[in-house]
Homo-oligomer: 151 residues x 2
């Protein structure tokens, strides 16, 4: 196991789960077969420049600073082809996609790790994204539109 691999796994873990302290992260790594101490995690966090942001269920969560949020050009391109419309209503975003593509699009959007997203549900040609507040919905909606526009 190299440090690089560990770093990658850390990034994966913190985007998949709300992890709010280094011991939890150490435990999560352990489940993936990588065993290091909190001290090492502390250094990793520092290397990766991770920050703590507000979580949904938890008070905090580790995260990449938003500027580094990850979505590949390729993904954005696919997204732009699949998505027909993006609208908000109260604390929801409703996205219409090509028939049968809602899931693909939803996965791409999920991977973009918008931190305020409570949950995402994809049907056949519709995605419903649930957020905490109307404001969150508007912000995230805008971000999604930008992703598509810049693809």
């Amino acid at each position: 196991m190299t440090k690089k691999e560990r770093h990658e796994l850390i990034l994966k873990l913190i985007t998949e789960k709300e992890i709010d302290n280094q011991q939890d992260l150490s435990n999560a790594l352990k489940k993936s077969g990588i065993e290091v101490t909190q001290a090492t995690i502390s250094r990793d966090i520092n290397d990766l420049k991770l920050i703590k942001i507000n979580g949904i269920a938890k008070k905090y969560r580790y995260s990449l600073p938003f500027s580094q949020a990850i979505i590949s050009h390729e993904s954005a391109e696919i997204l732009s082809k699949l998505v027909i419309s993006v609208v908000t209503t109260s604390n929801f975003i409703v996205i219409k996609t090509l028939d049968g593509s809602a899931n693909t699009a939803a996965n791409i959007i999920d991977d973009a790790t918008f931190v305020n997203v409570l949950g995402t549900i994809a049907g056949d040609n519709t995605i419903l994204i649930v957020l905490n507040t109307k404001q969150d919905a508007e912000v995230v909606c805008q971000k999604i539109k930008e992703l598509i526009k810049n693809a």
Copy 2:
């Protein structure tokens, strides 16, 4: 507002929500129109002999030092393994599950027949439960959490 009333409200709040610190509790009380400082809460907690137990979404939560187990141990056990988080927003409950497990979890929850549930939609790793009111959502959310907790 009497101290007794406040104590009762505190008990109500801590059973409905996962509250993990005194400031949060103070804030929650404020929303109900009762404004006291953390210092007072500290004394209330002491009066009520509340304890901190493990939460589901959060690391801790305040609780009465007893716990009433309610439903099918087997189902609850499965549920507890599948569910990652349970949160409410307006009149919805959003449940995150392990990938691919949303349907299984949704079925178990459906079987628990919460009377106020309007409908349940399961995606791949997210369940959306729609209820009549925000209050219903909070109550049912709490019940689901209890199911899991007591597993």
